[in-house]
Symmetry: D2
Subunit: 357 residues, 4 copies
């Protein structure tokens, strides 16, 4: 239906690594060829997206020299601008290189920590060059398989030093960049430090320069711990710290699935959309997900369309929920001391979601 076609003003963005995912998993080899960044930008533009995001290494190979880097970045900007697209966020890959296998910012090895900070600074530079004002930091290796090998308090001190070094860098350069910290409970480490959006929000208060640091809640990461993504988003909004958001889906209590938005749990996705739409969030609706491994490139674009389409359908249902006289009346009664009618309210929502109201 044309009414659920995405447009730039919907502010949908995708990571290059999401639609570009080649379908490798712990037990299987890639199933799709890599898609060039330029092609991704063009195809997403055609689908109605607002922009793309990227890790430093998604665009510029770590082996590139300065000249190569300049060439790649310039060409990429040209394509992005030509398509009327944006790069509102960049991030840094501090997890693929084996040097970071026992932590990047929290490595016990001072040389590894320096290397992580340098790589993150370069990624911040790249973001500024591309016009991004959000820098997402996901510390995927900042954790342990056994606490025998690292003390958690020592790790938190190192983590703070690392982020303080990045905010100093941003201030020193006069960058407009704000950092959005992304939590995850586990995988690829047995346990990752600061495992939830709540823990990240608390950690920010201990930083040297908390004003330019917020969070990037990821739906799937909260669900891995059996928590409600909409509640994590609400707490971030309540604290004025919702700097970015990662939309996808996940079944609770299992490996990181990065499923198409809404494909596991339509009701949970509804409340995520509601939190964003009602809560004044102005940033990108960013999808950090990938197509099933069964798909070829055609399936990848199907997947991307589906993420945006489901969001738009749910956005329309949010609007109707807020305007539904019976629903709003029941809530007003409860606020006035009337009895809760929660079964009724929930069934009205189910009817609305299923399209029979």
């Amino acid at each position: 239906m044309a009414e659920y076609e995405p447009h730039k003003e919907d502010r949908f963005t995708f990571g290059l690594w999401t639609v570009g995912n080649v379908g490798r998993d712990p037990f299987g080899e890639p199933v799709r060829p890599r898609i060039e960044p330029a092609r991704i930008v063009r195809r997403l533009a055609a689908l109605g997206a607002y922009g793309v995001s990227l890790h430093d290494d998604d665009l510029v190979p770590p082996t590139a020299d300065a000249a190569e880097r300049r060439g790649i970045v310039a060409e990429f900007r040209r394509v992005v601008d030509g398509e009327g697209m944006r790069v509102p966020m960049t991030t840094v890959n501090l997890f693929s290189d084996p040097v970071f296998r026992d932590g990047a910012l929290t490595s016990l090895d001072p040389g590894v920590r320096r290397r992580a900070i340098d790589k993150a600074r370069a990624a911040i530079d790249l973001g500024v060059e591309l016009g991004a004002d959000i820098f997402v930091l996901w510390g995927g290796r900042e954790g342990v398989e056994t606490d025998a090998a690292k003390d958690a308090r020592e790790a938190l001190r190192l983590y703070r030093e690392g982020i303080n070094a990045l905010t100093r860098y941003i201030r020193d350069r006069g960058y407009p960049t704000r950092i959005a910290l992304e939590a995850k409970p586990n995988e690829p480490r047995g346990d990752i430090y600061l495992p939830t959006t709540g823990a990240m929000l608390a950690f920010i208060a201990t930083l040297d320069d908390p004003d330019i640091v917020g969070v990037n809640p990821e739906v799937a990461h909260e669900k891995m711990a059996g928590l409600r993504a909409a509640h994590a988003i609400a707490q971030a909004q309540d604290a004025g710290k919702l700097f970015h958001v990662d939309l996808n889906d996940q079944h609770p209590g299992r490996y990181d699935q990065d499923l198409r938005f809404g494909s596991d749990d339509l009701k949970g996705a509804f409340f995520v959309v509601r939190a964003l739409e009602n809560g004044g969030y102005q940033g990108p609706r960013h999808f950090d997900a990938h197509a099933y491994r069964t798909e070829d490139e055609e399936g990848v674009w199907e997947f991307a369309r589906g993420c945006m389409r489901t969001y738009l359908i749910l956005r329309e249902k949010v609007r109707r929920f807020e305007e539904d006289a019976e629903i709003q009346g029941l809530l007003q009664e409860a606020r006035a001391g009337g009895k809760p009618r929660n079964e009724r309210l929930d069934q009205l929502l189910v009817d609305l979601l299923l399209g029979v109201r």
Copy 2:
């Protein structure tokens, strides 16, 4: 919408303990008065249900003598018959009485085991009197908090002896009763033996008289272990052992919630309905759930209506899924060696569920 009004031929049933739940939980006292069985039958009949199920103790207080018991049962039958209702299933409460706190059929104490068998036999008798041909057995106390206190193999042997004693009783009496075993991974015991429908199906093959023993998969119980209820149902159907089913909902990886059917996960509920409707299941669509603790009796009937309504809405969506030319075409292509189009198929289902297809 009138099209989703339940009728007797839909074969919806509710346990007396479900709509009769008084809203006690581990941290709080009852919030609603008990509803008399006769009133439950009348109200459910008026709502379009097919029948009710019950534990022995739901109807007849354990303290009743034989004459009282006869009177209660006769009066209850009169009400049931008068409303054109049925009692297709009964079950036995082997979990409330403290005597069963360390196991009923698997208690190490032979006296406790005998008592459990006697109580189960009496409940089977009651079922026969009420016209039920299914006897559900949920061994809620058949488990441990620590394996130091009981060896699992010893427990399985005792469990088998107990069930063999029940099937012998059924055969000796010439009853038409079939037993449906219900699995649950934990709660109220730390770990319950035979924790999934799969484990129960396997156990049946080790019994003396497996022909009259099948399973009663409960949606919430499979979800507690993060498993898919529709897959458990499919395996039971594949084995010819789907004797009964408990419909409700649950968020994975947490306490036993017994939520209104479909209220956690609409997609999961869709596949449960699809398995039942397409798989030739002719038995009751039995709801083993209860209203939120926020509700008074009005909310309880709202809850009951919601269970049936959501089932009927999803049943209609199943019909449309099976008749959808694009969906069925994509599946046929895959069967003919064409490439999988799973993202497309799943998005078509999402559209269908959300009422935009």
Copy 3:
């Protein structure tokens, strides 16, 4: 072994509700009679405990009038003092009374919120009378079964107003009381707001008077979400907010078990003890657990002894871990840029735990 006998200086405390638990669960009736508070105090004193904690309603029935209350409190103080015991912490029961079934501080009903604040203030008063300087607040009903019935941001605003009212009360009265907030992800609500210690720490920063508010991490509650309790404690310590701690055990991803400390996971318990002992925590080692439902009163005291004994055994192992030359040498190597030897470190810990090193 005498070396693992508890003494007052070990600062072990138990809630009246823990050893006093009567063994009711969602599927079964009480298995043990209530033990009078005075008897609990005497028995725990004899076992080597330092003190007891309590909910307002554990000591004073909600129906007591002012004179009865005075009598009960005076008599209780006499017993506590006579045994050389302490009451370092009190808390408030905002979960048992059906009036709080849809939230206490976060109820949409202003009358219910006022009642919750009044009850909490009275419980703070009681704590001051008993010499407690910590007031634990667990908002067990501050959550939802469906977000259709309450907006999470509205709930967070109400929650904050409630806690602000309590800190104002403490300041106005000149009380020495500090509040320790306790997080839990779910049960008895489908989802509880501020579900982890991390979320609570973040929330504190948004309060009017954050200085006198900290956290009370509970081992079992973090484990319910699959998180590491030792990491939650470390973050609380890092933030200077570890005001109290609840020790017990739990298997991840299931109902709230409140098991004897160390009985699920010895390694996890070791790291909890290590965080407390090495992290400068001076407060009570408080057990919030209860005996299995299989136990009579003798088993309850066995349970209490076991909690303390396991803590002391693990404390001794912590001391040996910190003094183990090989372990500390490997950690120093890693800090100096040497390669991680994490498998070796973890096996050394396993050997140490199993008593073969």
Copy 4:
């Protein structure tokens, strides 16, 4: 301690893919070079192992022609025999090749199913050549991300056809091979069919030739679903179907960790060892685990030593548990109708595990 040194009669085996794991994960590149099969055999022999197991592709590259294959196999046998080692089990890799991405035996595509059967038959041949009498079958791709793309009952029928084709092959050739089916709840598929050992045991009863089909319970796989591995093993033993076992460890409710045996949960590992040692299991104690990604090859052998050492320590503790007069006395009392003393029993076990009894 020399007393916990492994010897051949302990029957410890490792998969080539376990100690040979290069440390790639979903977010990171390999950290260790591949270790040649011959080197693995020699090093494990030196450490006291009994043998090795392998996937077809671990030994023979899929691209090898018949002559190359013969050469590789002959050379490998020479090394194995020379070291006095054994190959008691082989298995087939039906998960790495992208052709199997939407199922191997359960692919909707008949061509893919044929290919899977052919590959499995060749792997059975290889096992026979190497003297293995157990063939493990783990259907890692036999599942779905969405049930919209495949009907679970159709999948079960296809799965059965596939296994029936393998048992026919074994019978036709007169092989001594028995098949051990391995369950896993999820990963790499969203949901894998027959997700637990219980489900696999039930499925076996529906096969054409169930006598030569049993199970290979994997500790980590049961724990992923929050279930107790020792209970799954007990049920397999009860059914006479424990053909093989995979020992490792895992934290419940997360990605497949394949940790060193005993490194997550010592108590759970104790009961696994107890089930095997007391239950008459004569087969290999097979470790399906890998070293942390922090390790180089030295760490890999440390890991292998640790798996065996922890098993032997726990085996000794099992012996002492069975001979402990107080423990056995309490169990006898319970069997004689005495009251349960489960807190006492569990604390005695904790003492025994911690080496203070």
